[in-house]
Amino acid sequence: MDSIIQQMRAIRLALRKNEVWRSVDFDDFLTDDLVSPSLDDSYEYTYRCNIPDLDTDRLALVNGYCRQPLQVLPNGIVMGGLREARRQYPDLVQRYFGSCTTKTVTRSFTTMQDEAFGKGMVNPYLDINTEHYTDGLFVYIPDGVKVQKPLQFLSVIRSDHPLMLQTRNLVYVGRGSQVAIIHCDDSYDQNSSFSNNVTEIFADEGALVEHYKMQNLNAQSALLNQTYTTLQRDASLRSIAISINGGHIRNHSEIRMNGEGCETQAHGLYLIDKEEQVDNYIFVEHSHPHCHSNELFKGIMDDAARATFNGHVLVSDGAAKTEAYQSNKNILMTDKAVVNTKPFLEIYNDDVKCSHGSTIGQLDEQALFYIRSRGVSERTAKTMLLYAFCDEVIQKIAIPALRERLSDMVKKRLHGELNVCSDCALHCSTPCNGEEAGATFKIDVSKL
């Protein structure tokens, strides 16, 4: 364990000037007392989730281990723990494990810069995960299956001592198949933790994958959430990352569109306060013609919270007729809140439509005046506008029950009413004795 911690600290030093990783500073969370979870830890797995009208098939990881047996459903879907899958279906796992994390070798400004590590995308955190992962979830969906119920991945941390998790998830979606995955990261108590998680999603030809990442961790926890997606010809990804709490969250997404006609919709919403940090890095590679990508990330930062958006779209010379759009919009509530935003397009083909932009600001004065002119108090008007700001991302959630639930939660959160015990998508396992104020979020609109 010590050696992993040492390695991770060394990585931080080595990558301090690296464009992709410079915003990542986990030092405060890489404490000497972190230990690896043990399969013998026999915590009761309790789970309550009460999203009205949302019926999901659940797969749970408790402290990084899957404790449910591997299931094979009548339509051929295999799902369960990766460790178990590796034993029972070694060929399947072998075929796709590592298939999405292959380093890009395309000509790229960023890769040229990485002198310290030679050419190719550098990601030592991925290497550590590959070497040390304990378990994770495995889902294999054969060709032509439309998965009716969303799959819910629950990654719950519950421990009486600080934990370091290395979790590895692998999802294969067959040709023309469709699936929605709701991926929840929760901490159960107030113990600190460090998670270096990797999820690989391989979407074969014509597949459609919806991937919702819901993050609600305690302020002592750090989460490095790496997602690597490969889209084969005509496949689509719709991903939304919603980060509501966490000491330091890094959503590191790399999406490679590996054939013509692929589509990527990758969005994010972050609402953070106190000294929390959320960092969204997203790399989208257009290497074939007629692929579309669209990114919209929005965030509200209160107190001394810090956010980073680092979006990189690489359009290689073969990718004619590419359409790629990037947008990052932020509202800062205080003088101490910080956002670093860097939407970045790197284009080597001249037959493309691309745009990028970012804004950092306060609320629209004209809209505020308009709402108030109807008799709505300043405080209510500001809350309405903050919610409206978030709504653009929430509306992109395609599962109506989940969308409504999140809409409700964000509203409550902006009103400062969100109870840690609220039975909702992001609070499926938060303790009731939440005297630790870290789990509540209150935006003080008077600061605007």
Partner: protein, 254 residues
């Protein structure tokens, strides 16, 4: 007592003086039209009465129901019964008209010490008021003004006016950007809302709106002052002759 009494109002935006001594008295039951060329202070006057903080009042007072309202914030003035129909209604993505109006109606009720409307009471009120401007059901579920046509935006203003039932409505260039049908619908809506207890100020620089909304008084606001007041015939005269003769009259008078 006048409903609205504006006395020697001077106002500026930044260093530029726009209103240079406006006097105006408005009683309940009356419709006043304020006309005048662009850039002479019509919208400024509307903005000051409604409470837009971008204007600075340097002199004079605005009494509403006998009380000086210049220190009241815009939302309190609205709760007191003042409504501004915007020349350029603001788009608010993410806030539906229904949600917006439910919040506004209930905040105004709260100000007056009334209980909020229940969901069904509110929907009933919405249905009733939508008819005033022939508003479609789908429009009400859309985000406020987002992607609306010019006509839809102005209908939405009058719809909000119907929902909030103000004592003093100021309609700033409500006719701009409207085709004939929309103009008729908007004007008919305003007429339906007219009662002996409320008053309306219609700001326009075209006479055609006044074919539908017949004013009791027509004022000409020119270079920051009301230089002429008459009846609806004055509007016709302005339509025919333009504003030059007013300038000439003023210069001759100096």
């Amino acid at each position: 007592m006048s409903l609205l009494s504006i006395r020697n109002l001077h106002a500026s935006i930044g260093d530029k003086e726009i209103l240079k001594g406006v006097n105006l008295e408005i009683n309940r039951g009356e419709v006043h039209s304020i006309m005048g060329p662009n850039g002479n202070g019509k919208s400024t006057l509307a903005g000051i009465v409604a409470g837009n903080p971008k204007y600075t009042v340097t002199e004079g007072e605005v009494l509403y129901n006998g009380k000086n309202i210049l220190d009241l914030p815009v939302d309190v003035r609205a709760c007191e019964g003042i409504f501004l129909g915007f020349q350029y209604p603001v788009e608010i993505p993410g806030v539906s008209i229904t949600n917006f109006m439910r919040t506004a109606v209930n905040e105004q009720r709260k100000y007056r010490g009334l209980d909020p409307l229940s969901g069904s009471e509110f929907l009933k009120l919405m249905e009733e008021k939508k008819k005033v401007v022939e508003m479609t059901a789908t429009l009400a579920n859309r985000s406020v003004n987002e992607g609306f046509s010019g006509g839809e935006k102005k209908k939405n203003e009058i719809f909000q006016m119907a929902m909030l039932n103000p004592t003093l409505a100021i309609l700033d260039e409500t006719d701009s950007g409207l085709d004939i049908d929309a103009l008729r619908i908007v004007a008919t809506g305003v007429n339906k809302l007219r009662t002996p207890d409320n008053a309306t100020i219609v700001i326009t620089h075209y006479q055609r709106l006044l074919d539908y909304i017949v004013p009791d008084f027509v004022h000409v606001l020119y270079e920051g002052r009301i230089v002429k007041t008459g009846t609806k015939e004055l509007a016709l005269e302005l339509e025919e002759k333009g504003y030059d003769w007013i300038r000439q009259e003023l210069e001759a008078g100096k």
